[in-house]
Amino acid sequence: MPAVSMTVNGNPVKGDADARTLLVQYLRETLRLTGTHVGCDTSQCGACVVDVNGKAVKSCTMFAWQAEGASVTTIEGLANGATLHPMQEAFRDNHGLQCGFCTPGMIMTAVDMVKRKGHDLDDKTIREELEGNICRCTGYHNIVKAIAAGAKAMA
């Protein structure tokens, strides 16, 4: 199996991946970064969202070898040491999660949303931007609140 190299959460990593290994499998199984989740097989649920070279990407939709040389940030790399990222704090403060399974993808998407749309996000924008992330627990109400608060806190 060919080895694939990339930078994940600031650390250079190298691991074997065959041609059909998805990025999410590489992260979860080769690197044992299990915070990135898989909730579907049609790129709909968004539980697997990570940041690849500054863009939110569903890591179930690209092969590991396609990320050769890339810089990848996963949910495990979002906090600054013991200091949580403001979006992580906002999800906790606003009860933006219940079972926690979709949460890593939601938070990664939310951070990307703020990068693209700014810090003053209205409900409609947030809801539209969450089109690619499914949550079955929260009814989205508190996720929307959390993202609006997190966006402000990131300013």
Partner: protein
């Protein structure tokens, strides 16, 4: 109220690991040397298995084993069972078919497993699965419950002629028919309660490990009730003795009922792990989940409501066909019977109720409890009948409800349940105020000016939670008792571990249960940990479903805390050289009445363990107590939801403009968590009403088995919700809790459909009211209903 005790909106203790990616879900766990299992599943809804040729599959790279239903039978692995016995009205028992974990003779639904491949990697297992040759004899299939009993319908199991599992009834038929004869007005509805796929975002998973040194098995799985899984797999499937089987349900990513049941995959993983003497891992993909997770609802009902001249409801009768799918899942039989017909009185005093239920087999995925389980179906019947009755009699739907509300308690319905407390008019009134029902007429006119149709719908629901006194459910056929257990372990330093038989998979027990203990013992919430989900750590418990963990699970903790406090007072009495009866305990401090002598909680805990102040003859060392709590009644959460929506007649698209929920859950431990539970429940209920519907074609193929095809509610399909509460204490448990987990899913579908039919001016539309369905209905009635209100 203390900052972290009962009633405080404490941030969740469990969240840190989830927001940092450190949750430990089943698929996050790996064992050294693990293999991967792939299930080869029938592509046919109904087919005899003539022959399986596994030679080519076995020769594929990395393959460890290929196993079939014949191997399972040879190893004498038992069938899966349904644990609730229902008796038909003619006195005969329900017709439960055999349910092998791997089909041996024939496959009965698309997705029924016919073989498994175990390999070094998942890719190799799947590749080898492609090489397995299964010779099927395809048989005619039936998927529609309304057609399953017809003459000439394909017979699925010999044990059940006409595919009929039972023909059950409840209530007094004669008295009900007589009340209908005397009625001033009768409202009639044909209702399809659409089939749903639960779709917890974490797919089911299992990891089985066999220890040949001790001949014992460990199963990590996505379970809402690991002890019940262990019991069934040990005692009925016969996999291993109960004490040689450990079941661990770690972090579980949502359940909604679908992770209560004991499924073929976990049985097969355990069996295979012992057979290949290596760990075996399975993780469902989403397509597989659509084909194997127990589905929900799927009722076909004709229902009628009788009114007298004043609008008093005098009787209700219903005839329901319930689709249980290809096999009877673990609690499937109870859902359309004792969890359904017993709630047909709604919030109303109805003297006469009669309900008949035929449960049928079809060539579809098994159907079992899904959030609400029977109660959403009952609520939909009652609340649609009341709303339509009001329209037919030209009465205000809220006034008609008020006229019929149960107003004095306890109230015995004609269908088993004894409502213990409630104030239905209070929640209706509060909801009307918050929703500004008075201003609806103006809003409707404004919508009409914009070419839109606006509607408003009520749902005043009731549910029975806590499930419930063991003796009562035993008399109704349950194979288990429905109590709950707790153990409170006080450590020598005064920190506390609570071992609970409840299981949290999103509900926040690590926080709410700790709030209860913190308030009671006067210790910081950080000094308390909640342990659940591991049969080796926790005493036998019943798990979490039916909104029971507050009312039943927490009451077990209260009982254990009572014992801990009593023992701690004895220890304090020795320490403070006082009579036990003079010891008082408050805010984490033991004092002697009338003196300034005191001992802190931590000192008493330490003294319980160092045991220097008393002899073993006087008092046992240690501070750890357990309790089992069996409830004395169901609990009866109730409330009023109001949905206001707008339909674009050009596209048929429905937009929810406002949602108001006023619920009476009794005493609330953490309002933040309760609101979250209500939000999620409403979203699932709105999903059922507007988006979700499981479609089988006539040959039993699942047509919409992915997120590309099955419409999950998304953020931009839903509004923000206005949530409030009223409170009547539940008299049957010491905390006064009723439960909140299912209310939204129970209330919401009727509120949406009452609003949609209000907007459309016709009752002729079924769930899910998709834009296409709404548009078609509008073309039929050919109306654009200008400003009428």
């Amino acid at each position: 109220m203390s900052a972290t005790g009962i009633g405080a909106a404490v941030r969740r203790k469990e969240d840190f690991r989830f927001i940092t990616g450190k949750g430990q879900y089943t698929d996050d766990i790996s064992r050294p040397g693990q293999t991967y299992i792939h299930f080869v599943r029938s592509p046919h809804a109904h087919a005899k298995i003539r022959k399986i040729d596994n030679a080519a599959a076995k020769a594929m790279p990395g393959v460890v084993a290929v196993l079939t239903g014949a191997d399972l039978a040879n190893d004498k692995i038992g069938n899966l069972i349904c644990g609730w016995a229902i008796t038909s009205k003619d006195g005969t028992p329900m017709k439960m078919s055999a349910h092998p974990a791997i089909a041996n003779v024939k496959a009965c639904h698309v997705g029924d497993a016919v073989a498994v491949v175990i390999a070094e990697t998942l890719g190799q297992a799947k590749d080898a699965g492609e090489k397995l040759v299964v010779d099927y004899e395809v048989l005619p299939a039936v998927a529609d419950p309304a057609k399953a009993q017809a003459a000439g319908a394909p017979l699925i199991h010999d044990v059940a002629p006409n595919n009929t599992i039972y023909q059950w009834h409840l209530g007094d038929q004669k008295a009900t028919d007589a009340a209908f004869k005397a009625a001033n007005h009768v409202t009639k509805l044909d209702i399809i309660n659409n089939r749903l796929v639960p779709n917890a975002i974490e797919p089911r998973a299992a990891l089985a490990d066999y220890d040949s040194g001790t001949d014992s098995l460990t199963l990590w799985n996505t379970s809402q009730n690991p002890h019940v899984a262990r019991l069934v797999i040990a005692a009925f499937v016969g996999m291993a003795p109960e004490h040689k089987l450990r079941v661990i349900a770690p972090d579980v990513g949502g359940g909604f009922g679908s992770k209560i049941f004991i499924y073929p995959e976990e049985v097969v993983c355990l069996w295979a792990a012992r057979k290949v003497n290596r760990p075996v891992k399975w993780n469902s993909d989403r397509s597989e989940a659509f084909l194997t997770d127990a589905h929900g609802r799927d009722h076909v009902t004709h229902a009628e409501m009788a009114f007298d001249a004043e609008g008093k409801i005098t009787a209700l009768r219903a005839k329901t066909i319930a689709n249980l799918g290809a096999y009877m899942s673990t609690f499937s039989s109870s859902v359309p019977t004792y969890l359904y017909a017993t709630l047909l009185s709604g919030q109303y005093g109805i003297a006469n109720i009669y309900c008949e239920v035929d449960a049928v087999y079809t060539n579809t995925v098994p159907v079992d409890a899904y959030r609400g389980a029977g109660r959403p179906e009952a609520t939909f019947v009652v609340e649609r009948l009341v709303e339509v009755g009001a329209r037919e009699m030209s009465m205000d739907p809220a006034d008609l409800r008020k006229k019929n509300f149960v107003k004095s308690f306890p109230h015995q319905t004609p269908v088993i349940m004894a409502y213990d407390a409630g104030d239905y008019a209070a929640s209706l009134k509060k909801a009307q105020e918050i929703a500004d029902v008075k201003g609806f007429g103006k809003r409707k006119r404004d919508s009409a000016r914009n070419g839109k149709l606006r509607g408003l719908g009520y749902s005043t629901y009731i549910e029975a939670c806590g499930i419930a006194p063991s003796q009562a459910v035993g008399s109704l056929g349950a194979g288990v008792g429905l109590w709950e257990s707790a153990e409170v372990r006080v450590n020598p330093t005064g920190s506390v571990e609570v071992l609970t038989g409840s299981h949290s998979h999103g509900q926040g027990h690590e926080t709410t249960f700790a709030q209860l203990v913190a308030g009671r013992l006067g210790i910081p919430i950080e000094n308390i940990s909640i342990v659940h989900g591991d049969t080796d750590k926790v005493q036998f418990g019943m798990g979490t479903y039916g909104s029971r963990s507050g009312a039943v699970g927490m009451t077990a903790i209260v009982k254990a805390l009572d014992k801990v406090e009593a023992k701690a007072k004895k220890v304090a009495a020795f320490m403070l050289e006082a009579a036990e009866g003079d010891i008082e305990f408050k805010d984490g401090k033991f004092t002697v009445a009338g003196t300034d002598k005191a001992a802190a909680w931590g000192d008493v805990a330490l003294n319980a363990y160092i045991a220097h102040k008393f002899t073993g003859a006087e008092l046992e060392p240690g501070l750890k107590e357990g309790a089992f709590y069996d409830p004395t009644n169901f609990t009866f959460p109730a409330g009023c939801h109001i949905c206001e929506l707008e339909i674009d007649p050009e596209t048929g698209n429905t937009e929810i403009m406002g949602w108001t929920a006023v619920d009476d859950f009794g005493v609330i431990i953490n309002p933040m968590i309760v609101e979250g539970q209500v939000h999620g429940g409403i979203a699932q209920g709105v999903g059922q009403a507007l988006f979700e519907g499981t479609v089988y074609d006539k040959d039993g193929q699942l047509v919409n088995g992915s997120y590309m095809d099955y419409a999950m509610p998304r953020a931009d399909y839903l509004p923000s919700f206005k949530i409030d509460t009223t409170e009547t204490r539940c008299p049957s448990n010491p905390l006064g809790i009723k439960g909140c987990g299912e209310a939204g899913a129970i209330a919401a579908p009727a509120a949406v459909m009452n609003a949609i039919t209000d907007a459309l001016g016709t009752e002729d539309i079924a769930m899910p009211a998709t834009p296409a369905a709404v548009w078609r209905t509008l073309q039929k009635v050919n109306t654009s209903r200008p400003a009428a209100a």
